[in-house]
């Protein structure tokens, strides 16, 4: 492979991997608290549509509009996550079904599409996250395009990987969070508020899924398309498992899948004649393959899935 192609693929792996990374980081936080969120796809689309609306309708300087759009995406994802949290934590609805319901409600044929047509989002957004030239290093050979020529969102996601790793493994609150995910009974007995911990981290997860959606509508696909995330929310859920519920490994996984997602466009742009549908299917095939690998007996022992994942906590029914 010539080095030029390698650089393009590496750079676009990071570009297309960024939304996956945000959503997977959110998934790590949520699942560490013992809540399974299958609504990621819907939350991403909802975040995407709200950010898209903000970026096309609000007037003002670019940085202000983009900040507001990012906030709108966060708010939309959080709101959907609050609904999920209320359903599964307070009402103890089956977590699988509630997450699915969120994705059907908000997803490609649901609320996100409805809002997009009501808000008339036919044109490209006026402002989008452009690629930066960090420290003027964007022109550096090889590393420049790979590391120093990305959108602000990518750098934000790197900061979050560090922050969340530190939070999970180096702080008291992170320890409490992991305790709630492993054994809510024990956590409750030592005075940790299980319900609050779960609510907070489910909502944080939704917020990050919203940001993942913003990556799509304000950077990757700046003109609205129904279902623009094309199943990336589901891949993010698989990445949480693939990343052993750790932010750093989720990042590796996100970029591997980012590379597969971008392969179709990259190769087509260079005139390589490969069936686009075959390349488009790659991320999905790889997701299945990776899940098969990590669900084997070997991986199960050292995976470290939160023990209470998916189980509602009922104090009276211990």
């Amino acid at each position: 492979m010539n080095s030029n192609l390698f650089i393009v693929i590496a750079a676009s792996a990071i570009y297309y991997g960024t939304p996956l990374l945000f959503s997977a980081l959110g998934g790590v936080l949520t699942e560490r608290s013992g809540v399974l969120n299958l609504g990621v796809e819907g939350m991403m689309l909802l975040g995407a549509v709200c950010a898209s609306w903000t970026a096309s309708r609000v007037d003002g300087p670019g940085w202000l509009v983009l900040s507001l759009a990012l906030l709108a995406g966060i708010a939309a994802g959080s709101a959907a996550a609050l609904l999920h949290a209320f359903a599964v934590i307070t009402l103890r609805v089956n977590q699988t079904v509630s997450g699915l319901a969120i994705t059907i409600l908000a997803g490609s044929a649901g609320l996100s599409s409805y809002l997009a047509s009501v808000w008339d989002l036919k044109n490209p957004v006026k402002h989008q996250f452009g690629k930066l030239d960090v420290f003027g290093l964007g022109d550096m050979p090889i590393l420049g395009p790979i590391l120093f020529h990305h959108t602000l969102l990518t750098y934000l996601s790197w900061a979050l990987v560090v922050l969340i790793s530190w939070y999970l493994f180096r702080t008291r609150a992170g320890l409490q969070l992991r305790a709630v995910g492993e054994s809510p009974q024990t956590a409750d007995a030592v005075g940790i508020n299980v319900v609050r911990t779960r609510y907070v981290h489910t909502i944080l997860g939704g917020a990050l899924a919203g940001v993942g959606g913003v990556c799509f509508s304000l950077s990757i696909v700046p003109t609205w398309q129904d279902g623009m995330t094309a199943g990336r929310g589901w891949i993010a859920i698989a990445l949480v498992i693939f990343g052993f519920w750790r932010p750093d490994l989720a990042m590796v996984g996100a970029y591997v899948f980012g590379a597969f997602s971008s392969l179709s466009l990259t190769l087509q742009a260079r005139g390589v004649k490969i069936t686009p549908q075959l390349l488009d299917s790659l991320p999905y095939v790889m997701t299945i393959a990776v899940l098969v690998v990590v669900s084997g007996g070997w991986a199960k022992r050292r995976l470290g899935a939160p023990a209470a994942l998916g189980i509602p906590y009922e104090r009276e029914e211990r």
Partner: protein, 366 residues
């Protein structure tokens, strides 16, 4: 604060009240949404009702729209009954249309109507085999079936698009207008499924088959050893394994059954209505996802699936014919999502009583 208290028994009337109440609640929530977006909810709803059920013609169109939903609803119900979350109804449906269309194209001319059973068989097999991929992985390797079935949806969608848009496949029209606009080859007239006309009302053959299949599913789950074992496995896999039931095979069988039902829907779709392999239309249809809503609303009862599918078919038929500036795309999906959510909330009310918790002042002996 509110507190949930487990009910000792499940009152029978709740089985009826929950779905009806959740539809009503969803309609109210949907009305708010329509109101906020600047339209009149009452007008919108009366137009939906008018287009879906008001005349024989409208009702016939509704029954056509209900047919694929009936099959995907049965598919979801059959799997969810055992706690196996087959979200891949959409992909299995698409594969069913691919295999059934192939059969129709191959033998439609020579066999005439006798090709119909073959198309059914092909659709069932296609859907069942596609689902079996996820089934084998789930049963023997313990791979999460939710994600695999979902990924298989996207792969099936890509496969169908490839057959029509990027290959010179057997399904594609390679002459006339097909040279300019990629499209599927029309199946021979001989393979068109018949309709049953009752005055102005037209009952598609697929719907009748689906209804019969629903009754069959109900009997299978209610009155056979298979159904009994499924019920035990769904309640407690450990107990089932201890009693000597082969849970792995049962998981595979249930996923394959579910996929076969979705694939049969695909066969009905291609034989009864589309008569071509139409990947674009299929991929936008959302049949598989609507099936999940239908199964949940029918509380996984196959007979109830028939009625709920007609209801949802009415909604999507009206949605399609009304689509325009004041009836945006996505409204139908949003309403369906809301119905599902309220149905879930209703299930909670069925299992628990809601009590207000009263804080007992400290120091008071209770």
């Amino acid at each position: 604060m509110i507190r949930l208290e487990r009910r000792a028994s499940f009152p029978k009337w709740l089985g009826w009240v929950i779905p009806i109440a959740s539809i009503a609640a969803a309609l109210v929530a949907g009305a708010l949404l329509i109101l906020v977006s600047g339209n009149d909810p009452l007008t919108t709803y009366s137009r939906i009702l008018d287009r879906a059920f008001a005349s024989g013609e409208a009702l016939s169109a509704t029954l056509i729209a209900a047919t694929p939903l009936l099959f995907t609803g049965l598919a979801a119900a059959a799997a969810f009954k055992m706690g196996v979350f087959n979200i891949g109804g959409q992909g299995q449906f698409v594969i069913g249309t691919v295999t059934a269309a192939w059969t129709g194209l191959m033998w439609g001319d020579s066999l005439g109507k006798a090709v119909i059973p073959l198309m059914i068989l092909a659709g069932v097999l296609g859907g069942a085999l596609w689902a079996a991929i996820a089934g084998v992985l789930r049963a023997w390797l313990n791979t999460n079936e939710i994600i695999t079935t979902l990924m298989l949806n996207y792969i099936a969608a890509n496969l169908a698009s490839w057959l029509i848009f990027n290959s010179r496949s057997y399904w594609r029209l390679l002459s006339g207008s097909g040279l300019q606009f990629p499209q599927g080859r029309r199946l021979p007239e001989g393979s068109d499924w018949p309709d049953l006309s009752l005055g102005s009302l037209v009952l598609p053959c697929g719907l009748l088959i689906g209804t019969a299949v629903a009754v069959g599913c109900w009997a299978l789950y209610r009155h056979t050893r298979f159904g009994f074992e499924v019920a035990i496995i769904s309640d407690s896999p450990e107990a089932a394994a201890y009693a000597g039931m082969r849970t792995k095979r049962k998981v595979l069988a249930v996923i394959a059954l579910s996929g076969g039902l979705a694939g049969l829907g695909g066969a009905a779709d291609v034989g009864n209505f589309r008569h071509v392999l139409d990947p674009k239309g299929l991929n936008q249809s959302g049949y598989g996802y609507a099936g999940i809503v239908i199964a949940a609303l029918a509380r996984l009862n196959p007979i109830a699936v028939v009625f709920v599918a007609v209801l949802m078919g009415g909604l999507s038929n009206a949605g399609r014919s009304l689509q325009g500036p004041d009836f945006p795309a996505g409204l139908v999906g949003t309403l369906q999502g809301m119905v599902l959510f309220f149905a879930l909330g209703g299930e909670v009310l069925a299992r628990y009583r809601i009590r207000r918790t009263v804080r007992i002042p400290e120091g008071v002996a209770v």
